[in-house]
């Protein structure tokens, strides 16, 4: 008798996940968005906002990185793939099958440890630092402190954007790498002579931003493309979006969301950009 109970329990246990899934899908719809950790906070916030307004519809948001987002959407395993890069820029992705939705813009700024009394760098100096030619802050008029360069992981969207627009695609020095912006911020804040880069949204007063060639890293300068280091945040779908995916992306692009949540979280709304940057880096003035 006891064994029979065990078997019954086992069956119930095995059956539970199946029934749970069914319950979920009959209740309402749900979609999954996976990828870029830079875009994740925005999608999460908008997703919650959407669920509140349309109860029963769920937006599951997961991180994992740009590479994960693009490869998952390519395989059709998820509904939306979040990416910091154009799909064409990533090796191993067939961009023709994917539809691009640009939902926001992020500006990226170099950041340094607060104890360094440096406010401005020229592009040449910045390149010198990241390629390893400048190894002490003394060489560019700073204090006698060795330069500690902290990079993001290879293939990270932020790093690709920074290397393209700030370092003119030079081969950078092999150096310390961190896989999250939070870690980068903490390390730059606590290591004398440290320099790294991050999205505007993550900058707080534990670290210091610097101007490049006299241009300050502000949203306004990004909008006019005076500050070159910025990238689009993409939400990719496989083919044209349908159903909940379509409504959610439309919600994301609606003026209400763009003007409120997007700017509140430190991203720059698409419709405020005065320029459009195409895949081939061509600029087009739109306003």
């Amino acid at each position: 008798m006891k064994k029979r109970i065990f078997i019954l329990l086992g069956l119930v246990f095995l059956g539970l996940p199946l029934t749970a899934c069914q319950a979920n899908s009959t209740d309402g719809q749900s979609i999954t968005a996976v990828g870029s950790s830079a875009l994740q906070p925005l999608v999460e916030a908008v997703g919650e906002d959407y669920t509140e307004a349309n109860s029963g519809n769920f937006i599951n948001v997961q991180g994992g990185g740009t590479g994960t987002g693009l490869s998952q959407i390519q395989e059709g395993a998820v509904d939306i793939g979040n990416s910091d890069l154009y799909a064409e820029q990533k090796k191993g992705i067939d961009a023709k099958k994917l539809t691009d939705h640009k939902v926001a813009v992020v500006g990226i700024t170099p950041v340094i440890n607060k104890s360094l009394k440096i406010n401005n760098l020229t592009t040449k100096q910045l390149i010198g630092i990241f390629t390893g030619e400048i190894t002490n802050w003394q060489q560019i008029g700073g204090p006698n402190v060795p330069v500690v360069v902290i990079n993001r992981a290879q293939g990270s969207g932020t790093r690709v954007t920074f290397e393209r627009w700030a370092l003119e695609n030079r081969t950078v020095l092999q150096t310390q790498e961190q896989d999250s912006t939070g870690m980068v911020r903490q390390i730059v804040a606590s290591t004398p002579g440290a320099i790294s880069y991050m999205a505007f949204a993550y900058v707080d007063n534990s670290i210091k931003t610097i101007s490049i060639d006299g241009v300050q890293p502000t949203n306004k300068n990004v909008q006019s493309d005076k500050w070159k280091i910025w990238s689009y945040e993409h939400m990719y779908t496989k083919g044209e979006p349908t159903g909940l995916t379509k409504t959610f992306i439309n919600h994301m692009l609606s003026d209400d969301v763009q003007n409120n949540i997007v700017s509140k979280l430190g991203y720059i709304p698409i419709n405020q950009m005065e320029v459009t940057r195409h895949l081939n880096d061509e600029l087009q003035v739109s306003k």
Binding site: K3, I7, S37, G63, G64, G65, T66, G67, T68, L70, S71, Q74, E75, K90, K91, G92, I93, V148, A153, Q154, G155, S156, Q174, T175, Q176, E177, Q178, D179, M183, Q186, I187, S190, T191, A194
Partner: protein
């Protein structure tokens, strides 16, 4: 009457049937576990070997070259996947942390079993158990905010590097090695000690010449077990080692381990690309190493039977 007995004898009894069912259940469970293990091996191996077969990376280059940039190709057109910096980093932190942890662990174990088996054991046992239970991210965080600045102020450099990784791993493997050493010392039969004391040996002489010597295989198992834990630890090490795919030229220069490069790179590469396959090769290497550690443990354990 006769028929009834005959029928009963020929029919399967309840006990037989329930035994049969039990056998089926345990067989199914075992089969599932074996399938899972085999498919993990198959998956990691097929992905990891793709680097050598479809991306044409030379195995020797993979093990001996120092440039890790599998996303781009070298002059021969094969990805730059030189894993030597990570291999060196992994072995360096593993061996160094084991070297530092072993004397502490054995001393603690001796104290707990030989010197103060009652009071000392009662206090130290929960302490080591507690240390085992602390999640590795907590160790990593403490490493980042305490050990790294300490290393920076005391030894120079940025603080990130093999030394910081060693310190963090030392604390992480200490409880494992300690509790296994305690088991090894306790397994030494009581009459070994009694015979030694009866011959007029002091307590220290007994510990040093009899107890430690006879439990040596068990202690070695404990150390190897700690090493395999150190080798596979990812998160805590990643937070303090600096993650630079460079051959470390000293203990305070940023370095990387197999695990730290793996966890950092997985999210940023696309399944099936050369960069992703190279990461799977690192995973395969880790899997093979843990197999080696297991074999070593088995070999030592066989020698250590009383």
């Amino acid at each position: 009457m006769n028929d009834e007995i005959k029928e009963k004898l020929l029919k399967k009894s309840r006990a037989t049937r329930s035994e049969f069912r039990g056998r089926i259940i345990s067989f199914v469970c075992t089969a599932i576990i074996v399938t899972v293990v085999v498919s993990i091996f198959y998956f990691v191996a097929s992905k990891g070997l793709a680097t050598f077969f479809s991306n044409k990376v030379n195995l020797w280059d993979f093990l001996s070259k120092t440039i890790w940039n599998p996303g781009s190709t070298d002059s021969h057109g094969s990805p730059q996947a030189g894993a030597l910096p990570m291999i060196v980093g992994s072995f360096a932190v593993t061996i160094l942390s084991a070297v530092i942890a072993t004397p502490f662990a054995i001393a603690t174990a001796v104290f707990m079993t030989e010197i103060s088996p009652n009071k000392g054991y009662k206090i130290l046992q929960p302490v080591t158990e507690l240390l085992v239970g602390i999640p590795s991210v907590v160790y990593g965080f403490i490493g980042l905010s305490v050990v790294v600045p300490f290393v920076r102020h005391t030894f120079g450099g940025t603080g990130f590097g093999i030394l910081a990784g060693t310190f963090v791993l030392f604390v992480m493997i200490l409880p494992t090695v300690t509790s296994m050493s305690v088991d090894a010392l306790r397994a030494v039969p009581r009459y070994y000690r009694e015979a030694s004391l009866a011959l007029g040996a002091t307590r220290w002489q007994t510990i040093y010449k009899v107890v430690l010597r006879s439990s040596a295989p068990g202690l070695a198992t404990a150390v190897v077990f700690g090493m395999s834990r150190a080798f596979g630890e990812a998160l805590a090490v990643q937070m303090v080692i600096g993650n630079a795919a460079l051959l470390p030229h000293n203990l305070v220069s940023p370095a990387s381990t197999l695990t730290s490069v793996l966890t950092m790179g997985m999210g940023n590469t696309v399944m099936g690309s050369a960069a992703n396959n190279a990461l799977w090769s690192l995973a395969l290497l880790l899997l093979l190493m843990s197999l080696v550690f297991n074999l070593v443990i088995n070999k030592i354990a066989k020698r250590g039977k009383f």
